[in-house]
Each structure stands twice: as C-alpha cells, then as structure tokens.
Symmetry: C2
Subunit: 240 residues, 2 copies
C-alpha cells in the first residue's frame, strides 16, 4: 500500500467519499484496486453496501487512516476508493458537450454531473485542459464521471474531423441567436470556452453561434451555469 | 487600520479582488472605509479607475501587504475593499428567489450572480443560513451582491406574511409539474431548499411545486445549477 498525493501523471486516482466510492464500485468494479476506511467510520447501511461490493468483487477493504491524511482535507471523508484510470471514448454519433480549455476542476465536475443528469453522456475536451481524473473533478461530479464517455483532443479541428455530421452550437457573448430559440432536431454539439476568456471569434465560423442573454449588471454567467442552462434548453423535450 | 480575519459578527466585510472592488466603489461608495493595495500590483487601467473612484469619494487608498496576508489566500488578489455592511430590504412587490437554509458561501454567491444576471434582484433567505457578507459569497457573486436586495427571515411563514400576493413555486423532487411547463404570468417566488436536504414535504402545501426532471444516473442537480435553470426558464420571455 503506497498512497501518495495525487498527480496527473499517476496511473491511479481516488474517490474521496462514500457516495462516490459506491458509484465507482457499481460502475467500474474491475478498475478498483483498494478501498480504504477511516477508523472513525459509522457502520451504517452505506458501509455494509461498500463491504458487500468489495467482497463480491474481491477488492481489498482496508482500515487505515493514513490515506485520509495524505489525500483528503475534508473532515467528512471516511471512505476512499483507489482505482486505475480508464479510457472511455466518446460515442461519435451521439450529442456532445465540447469544452475548450476548461481550467477549473470543480467546474468540470459540476458540468459532468449536469450533463449526465440531462442524458448527455459524451464530453469532448480540447487541450490544454484540467485533468478529468483529478479527485476534485470526481468529487464535484458526485460520481457522475463513472457514467460518462470522454475524450481529449489537441484542437477543435481534430475533434470536428472525428465525429459524425451534426449541428455545432458555439456559446459566445457575440452569439447571433438567443438560447431560447434553440430547439435542435438532429444531432448536435454544445461548445463552450474557457472560464476566463470564452471562445475566440474563430468559433463564429462554426455552425450556429448562441448567446444566453442577461442584464448588463453582470459581465457573464459562470461556466457551469451557462453549460447547465444550455443543456436544459437543448434536452428539455426529452424529459417531458 | 485594524484588519482582522472576517467574522459574521463584524460590522465590516471585504471585497477580495479588483473587479469586486470596482463594483463596490461604483455601487456603494458611501459604505467604503478603506481600499488596500498590494505592493506588487500592476498599475493598469483598472488600477487607475480604482484610484480615481477613491479620490472622487474621499476614500483612503492605502498600500499595505498586511491585509492580504490576513484576509486572502488567493495568489491573484492585489486589491481589497473594506466596507460597512448594509441593509437593502427586498422589494415586496417584485419577483423573488427564496433560499431555505442555504449553507454554502460559494453557492450563495453563484446564485446571486445568476439572479442579477436574469433581472431578479430580490433574494429572501430563511434562517439558519450562510452569512451573505462572507467574503467568499461576495467573491463568488463577482460583485453582483452590490446590485441585490436581500432579507433574512426567521421562517418561511414569516416571509410569506410580509410579501404581496403571488404564485409560489417550491422546487422539489416530488414536484407535481415539470419546470418546462412553468410560464409565470404574474408575480412569483422561486423557492429552493438546503443543499443536502432540499425542501421538506411541508412545502407541497405552498403554491405549485415544480420538478426539474433528470435521469436516474444522478441523485440531484447541484443547488446553484437548479436555481439557475429555474431562473432561466422563468425569465426567458423577458430576454427576447
């Protein structure tokens, strides 16, 4: 057992928390190396569920406080799952969210949670970008990462050359139609820029640019908020 | 000059950052006591804007690194505004967001940013709840707090007895109509529960309960995401 502070280049990552670890054990049991329990954990239903899932899948179930001291600065973390990172290519013929250079781990996790919530299970990420296996991403996703297909691309062109034909919707303050007029009939990709800079004007050339209108009392919406509102609008006919 | 670590009981709070401090100086100049500059600040346009605003309003403009060491753990904070907390009662005859027991500062700030962005400038907060003047709330609001009217209430009944007649929309997993069917014609309040527990079943009695439908692959949407999607749906006819 050699738990270290997480680094992007590591072959393993960690679920810091009970709910996340249950999602991991349910969706990716073959990838789990160890499950660590803190000595002060309450033996409630969730605890026994984790114990059962570990036994079923022959996963070591170890009591040790050390991984918690190394990996977690949250007080309420009593279970850690250690798992091998995995590839899960996006489905080229499904609807996508495309994130160009996202930089914040919490934001990426929140976006994953909402996307999976609205049935969009494919996210393409254009580099440079935050590491999707950062434990902060996994935590903010509330485990939705384990339901997701994702792929990193070197450039938007690279992405665009590798997917099936579809409508492209870049979200920009210069967008030419309002989000409330978006009502996609076929396949689509919703495209968003970096937290600080948004999408460059180059994206005006791709497909139909969209604006989420708001008052002048704010400069912009925060990125996960903009993505979530767009996902709601694009998918709402699916959920009625 | 006696800058201390922020406490809820203090009479002053702080804007940690340049954009926030400009919003403060523009919207609440009479409340600003001091503006602090870090010794490594770049003298760019924003710097001169702050200097001008301080001079116009006779606000001390002080170079000192000490407040930064006490108040900020962000590396990229070079300006701090110190201001007196203020009251700004909600307009009883306008649309409201009502937050029942919100507990997270970043979430409250993000909700304020989106609400102001969609033209809802009145937020009622039911206690117990996070302190709206926590510098983390102000930072996450990106300064939108200075455009907001807000009021704390001891209970939802207390709130409801003090406002003009309107449609009440509690957002609940047990909600009886889907958000996409929400199309308010008159005054309304959008009501949301605590991050962990949501609204209790008691709220099924108030007005028309609403559900934001999502897949079973997530337990729920995160609170600022749910509030923002609801705000988008409720206000979208205003922005077209």
């Amino acid at each position: 057992m050699t738990v270290k502070k997480y680094k992007k280049t590591d072959q393993v990552s960690y679920t810091l928390g009970l709910t996340l670890t249950i999602e991991l054990l349910l969706k990716k049991p073959d990838k789990v190396r160890n499950v660590y329990l803190h000595s002060t954990i309450n033996k409630n239903d969730a605890y026994y569920k984790i114990e059962d899932l570990c036994q079923e899948n022959n996963i070591p179930f170890l009591q040790s406080d050390k991984p918690f001291n190394i990996l977690s600065n949250k007080e309420n973390c009593y279970v850690i799952g250690e798992f091998e990172k995995f590839d899960k290519e996006i489905e080229k013929d499904q609807n996508h969210v495309v994130l160009v250079n996202p930089s914040n781990a919490g934001n990426l996790g929140t976006i994953i949670r909402t996307a999976v919530g609205f049935g969009i299970n494919n996210i393409a990420i254009i580099k440079p970008a935050v590491d999707i296996f950062d434990p902060k991403v996994i935590r903010a996703s509330m485990g939705a990462l384990f339901h997701l297909n994702f792929e990193y691309y070197d450039s938007f062109k690279d992405y665009n050359n590798n997917i099936s034909i579809r409508e492209l919707y870049p979200f920009m303050l210069k967008g030419s139609i309002s989000l409330s007029d978006l009502n996609p009939k076929g396949l689509y990709s919703l495209i968003f820029g970096n937290e600080a800079t948004g999408l460059s004007d180059d994206y005006l050339e791709y497909g139909q640019s969209i604006i989420i209108k708001h008052t002048n009392n704010i400069d912009s919406l925060n990125l996960p908020i903009a993505v979530s509102i767009a996902l709601y609008q694009a998918t709402k006919d699916t959920f009625n």
